[in-house]
């Protein structure tokens, strides 16, 4: 049989092949070692010398055509099959995935991380301090001498060695001033402790973030601008605030910041211009430098943000709470 006839036969067979297996059989039959085209090639030697080349070329062309036809048919069959997978390969993707533990960060960690990011972007260092403080850092250095009635207003956990569990993050102000000097921009996030009754809105162990900026000629206007910018960023809205007189021993003047929520003013955070006594305790000359400080309750922000209904969840260690964040 001549190569053209073999080719015709092969192409017809390929045309009607209906699956991969049949195509594989056809490949063996027409291109394999025992195929007629291979036999023709083997028989070329018996042809007259001048016929060998054209006959060989014809066989090779036929082989290439079969090859191509097989590939094309295979592609056609594949695409035919794939056009139906919507039905043939459907499965229920609403099934639960194979079990895998999902980890979560504590909501305070999440919020503190965002605040860390926000403040570092504005050039604030993030500084930590010890949970146990001495009276100097927690009180005296912050202009709260022993006889000061304000000491009573912090319900302090006193320790058997005469130190205290810090009642605020403010002691880190003094540590940071001594460590870095002026000018300084820093925040001090961390755990604080109040020896008081615990209920849905009051915790004895909670988290604060204190901010401190010291430079030449820092004024209340700088503080107001910073607070507005920070709150807008944290709450992700253009906030309306007002600043009114407050009282803190470690700032003078002191302010309270209220934020407008649903038509009424809500007290949000306290702040003020760093008291010269505190600057001196931090080794900074109050004649040369001024500064502002502010404090944010991180738990309070978390409660607002996620609508947490009871602050006691924070220290509960309960996975049903923790896995929601």
């Amino acid at each position: 049989m001549q190569s053209d006839a073999i080719l015709d036969e092969a192409l017809r067979a390929i045309e009607v092949a209906s699956n991969e297996d049949e195509l594989q059989q056809l490949r063996v039959r027409y291109l394999g070692r025992k195929s007629p085209l291979t036999a023709l090639l083997r028989g070329l030697g018996q042809l007259p010398k001048e016929e060998r080349a054209p006959a060989g070329a014809a066989v090779n062309r036929a082989k290439q055509s079969v090859e191509q036809a097989l590939d094309e048919r295979a592609a056609a069959l594949r695409s035919e099959k794939e056009s139906a997978i919507a039905d043939t390969e459907w499965f229920d993707l609403s099934l639960p995935p194979p079990p895998r533990l999902q980890g979560h960060r504590h909501p305070i960690t999440i919020l503190e991380g965002e605040l860390d990011h926000l403040f570092r972007g504005m050039g604030y260092r993030v500084v930590e301090g010890p949970w146990v403080e001495d009276e100097f850092h927690n009180f005296d250095g912050l202009n709260i001498p022993e006889s000061h009635p304000a000491r009573d207003s912090w319900d302090t956990f006193w320790l058997s060695d005469g130190n205290v569990l810090r009642t605020h993050t403010s002691p880190v102000q003094i540590r940071a001033m001594r460590r870095f000097g002026a000018p300084l921009r820093a925040i001090f996030p961390g755990r604080v402790f109040r020896n008081e009754a615990v209920d849905a809105t009051h915790e004895a162990v909670f988290n604060q973030l204190e901010g401190l900026v010291i430079d030449k000629h820092i004024t209340p206007g700088h503080l107001f601008h910073s607070i507005n910018a920070i709150l807008s960023e944290i709450l992700n809205e253009d906030v309306t605030t007002r600043f009114r007189p407050g009282f803190f021993p470690f700032t003078e003047p002191s302010f309270e910041c209220d934020i407008l929520r649903d038509g009424s003013w809500m007290e949000l955070c306290g702040m003020g211009m760093v008291h010269p006594h505190v600057l001196r305790a931090g080794g900074i000359d109050p004649e040369e430098y001024t500064g502002f400080a502010f404090g944010l309750g991180i738990d309070r922000l978390a409660l607002m943000r996620w609508g947490i209904d009871d602050i006691r969840w924070m220290n509960s260690g309960d996975l049903r709470f923790l896995e929601q964040f």
Binding site: R120, Y124, V127, V132, E252, F255, M273
Partner: protein, 787 residues
């Protein structure tokens, strides 16, 4: 502190400003106002009426039918008040009126007779708790006059007490009026104190034995007193300020306190033995009965007032029931004094008796206010008791007053600190309105602080900045962005490392972070087999919860057990410091990590170990090794490994000891790791450079062997790695087997070893040589090759 707007008006004109606005002004310029209540809001429709007629109710003995003229027409209403009478001027509420308590009056029948409105008592008007009878008005008030025009007060401003703890002057109406005068720039009227105190010889002898606790004491005998009811105007002001009326003399002492901020006390002169007042310290074991009828033991050293025989008052806190004003009192001894703040605070705390008086004294009162309050008392007493007269002059025992505090205020200081333009004249004016006295010193100022602000409140130039700023108004200070050098902000290494730990555990291993108290109990430590520390809370609220944690393990075990109520699979961690007492310095705080894991379908200890291995890698603890060995009591002795580097301990990981699990009610097998993060952070190595990757393929060789049961697979793997230091690319365990064909005391381990070179494809001879060296090594270590 409740401020009656009507009372304030006696000292400053507040006309044209509605009460809510007054409250807002106070909040924005002085101190936070909690609420402004306006009972007048409930008086809409209430008018003055005249009682024209009175007749009995046909069906009720205690009720009467009252005919009232409201200026327009007559109504008949049912009334139960015993004091209603013909000709009276009363408050009448026609039907449709909404009373202050929210009740809406409708026409209704009372015991069969229709009532067209109501004659009101003080309680119904929201003025006081008085409801024995109706409120009878002055007859000059014409029928039909709206109640808001003749009823006293109306609005009450409730100032947050915690916002004025440093402002003793604001604990009286006069001080608050001074603030309004300054804010509004309206004149402050003087307090009417009458004539100078008479210079006659006092008829009471005052001796102050403890001048450190009492810097001034005015004792004054006054006769012609008639104890009786208090006039309505005063009673209603007191009611508005939250003070219940008792009798005219007691009410007047309260009135002075609420007006001047100066507590005063009146003794019945008959009860003061020897006409002598002695201010002294309480002796040991002195017992008294206070005015409230409670027997109390005085704290030794507390300041007390005594006569020649006995204690008659606890200074600044409360009088005693042996000497108070009674109904038949005709002569009193008035006490107006200045007691030392910390002493009063200490006494009140020790007695658990905090009174309106002690609350004021503990803020540090102005001694200069003492004679003012005494004169004001006498002036008003003459109005209440026309026969009142001084029995001699007041006996005024005073320590020398501190000279007025003077603050030097450099020119431009206030404006510079506030960051706004302010003229010297503007600043002077604000300070003067608040009672500061300005003395010009070139362009600088010498500012004399008024005595009522000279406590802790105002002492440095920055305090004056606050005074000017708040009155000027913080809203007028424009916000201004910070400017400064742009410098990189280095991250604290511990914070960076902690974030790495959290990412490894929460993101890679599925652990959730929890927070907890840093306290523990002796019982919790004992159950966990953890040594409690010596550092404890000196004033713990919850008994038992008083030890500072030396380990996070007890807390973690408790939390694990609690979560098992809701979850079977648990993976939790906490990062927190633990505390070790150190003599003469702050306790040592070591940051630690505890993680707990329970997984009913897995091997928790292996999972926990896997997490620890990730931490070693992520924290780059180069050279840190996990070595299986017995560890702390809370870990299973056969399933426990130490993480360390040489002699340095990083911590432990393993299965929780069954005994400890039982003590905490932990179900099933659970694991725990406890690491010293402070040590880990300090041991962090540098980042590695990338390792070259060979372009040549590797050859796999599987080797299987029998080893002793307790030979760690990691030991075998690291031995296999040494078969050729260059050409062994990796060693991985792929099978562990104990059972059939494995002798007792042995186990079978199978490893896939990959050989490969950086510079060529290994040929058959290379591979044969490598296989032979692996086999030789296995034999040398006494492990049995399996074919």
């Amino acid at each position: 502190m409740l401020l009656s707007v009507e009372w304030l008006q006696e000292f400053v004109d507040l006309g044209g400003i509605d009460p809510a606005q007054l409250g807002e002004l106070f909040t924005l310029h002085v101190a936070e106002v909690d609420t402004v209540s306006e009972p007048g809001g409930g008086w809409l429709g209430v008018v003055a009426g005249k009682v024209l007629g009175l007749r009995p109710h046909p069906d009720a003995d205690k009720l009467r039918l009252v005919t009232v003229n409201d200026g327009a027409r007559e109504h008949e209403v049912v009334c139960g008040a015993p004091n209603v009478d013909v000709g009276q001027t009363i408050c009448f509420a026609p039907e449709g009126t909404t009373l202050p308590d929210g009740l809406v009056l409708t026409r209704r029948k009372i015991r069969g007779v229709e009532s067209a409105g109501m004659v009101l008592s003080e309680r119904e008007l929201g003025l006081s708790e008085e409801h024995e009878g109706i409120l009878v008005l002055d007859d000059v008030i014409a029928a039909g006059t709206p109640a808001v025009e003749f009823l006293p007060g109306g609005a009450v401003i409730d100032v947050d007490n915690t916002a004025i703890t440093t402002r003793p002057d604001l604990w009286g109406h006069y001080g608050a009026a001074r603030e309004f005068a300054a804010i509004l720039d309206r004149p402050l009227k003087p307090l009417a104190c009458g004539a100078e105190l008479p210079p006659d010889a006092p008829q009471v002898a005052v001796a102050v034995a403890c001048p450190d606790l009492c810097s001034r004491y005015v004792g004054w005998a006054i006769g012609g007193v008639a104890v009786g009811p208090t006039p309505d105007w005063m009673r209603l002001r007191l009611e508005q300020a939250g003070q219940r009326s008792i009798n005219n003399i007691v009410d007047l002492t309260n009135y002075i306190q609420l007006e001047c901020g100066q507590p005063i006390h009146a003794f019945d002169r008959r009860q003061i033995a020897g006409g002598k007042i002695v201010v002294r310290r309480a002796r040991k074991d002195e017992a008294v009965t206070t005015l409230d009828g409670v027997a109390r033991e005085l704290p030794e050293g507390a300041c007390v007032i005594a006569d020649s025989e006995r204690v008659v008052a606890i200074a600044g806190v409360m009088g005693l029931d042996n000497s108070d004003v009674r109904e038949d009192t005709t002569e009193i001894i008035l006490e107006v004094a200045n007691f030392e703040m910390t002493s009063v605070r200490g006494t009140a705390q020790a007695l658990g008796l905090r009174t309106d008086s002690s609350a004021r004294f503990e803020k540090g009162l102005d001694a200069a206010n003492v004679p003012v309050a005494a004169r004001r008392f006498f002036e008003l007493l003459k109005q209440l008791c026309p026969d009142a007269h001084a029995l001699g002059g007041p006996c005024d025992v005073a320590e020398p007053m501190e000279p007025a505090r003077v603050i030097d205020l450099p020119a431009g200081f206030v404006a510079h600190r506030l960051g706004i333009e302010l003229t010297a004249q503007q600043i002077d004016k604000i300070l003067e309105r608040l009672g500061f006295v300005i003395e010009e010193n070139g362009s600088d100022r010498r500012v004399r602080v008024p005595s009522w602000r000279a406590g802790r409140d105002v002492s440095i130039p920055e305090d004056l900045v606050e005074e000017v700023g708040r009155i000027y108004g913080y809203a007028q200070i424009p916000a201004e962005p910070l400017r400064g050098a742009l410098e990189p902000v280095p991250e604290e290494p511990a914070r960076r490392a902690r974030a790495v730990v959290r990412a490894a555990l929460s993101d890679e291993h599925g652990y959730s972070e929890f927070f907890g108290y840093p306290f523990t109990t002796a019982d919790e430590c004992a159950r966990a087999g953890v040594e409690p520390g010596s550092l404890r809370l000196a004033n713990a609220e919850q008994p038992g919860l008083d030890l500072m944690a030396t380990s996070l393990v007890p807390k973690a075990l408790t939390v694990l057990a609690q979560n098992q109520k809701y979850r079977a699979e648990i993976a939790l961690y906490m990062i927190a410091p633990v505390f070790a007492e150190r003599a003469g310095q702050l306790p040592e705080e070591t940051e630690r990590l505890v993680l707990v894991m329970a997984a009913p379908d897995g091997v928790p200890a292996l999972c926990a170990k896997g997490a620890v291995e990730t931490l070693v890698e992520r924290l780059r603890l180069k050279g840190a090794r996990l070595t299986q060995q017995e560890g702390p009591a809370y870990l299973h002795p056969g399933r426990c490994a130490r993480l360390g580097r040489g002699k340095m301990d990083f911590g432990w990981v393993g299965e929780i000891h069954p005994k400890i699990a039982r003590a905490f009610d932990i179900e099933g097998r659970a694991a725990l790791a406890d690491l010293n993060l402070t040590a880990c952070y300090a041991a962090q190595g540098k980042e590695s450079k990338m390792a070259s990757i060979s372009r040549f393929p590797g050859v796999r060789y599987d080797v299987s062997m029998l080893v002793d049961r307790k030979t760690p697979s990691s030991e075998v793997a690291s031995a296999l790695r040494k078969a050729d230091s260059k050409l062994v690319r990796s060693v991985a365990l792929f099978d562990e087997y104990v059972g059939k064909n494995v002798p007792e005391g042995k186990r079978s381990l199978a490893y896939a070893i990959e050989f490969g070179a950086m510079d060529k494809t290994l040929d058959t001879a290379d591979v044969e040589r490598l296989r032979a060296s692996v086999d030789a090594l296995v034999k040398k270590r006494g492990w049995q090759l399996r074919s």
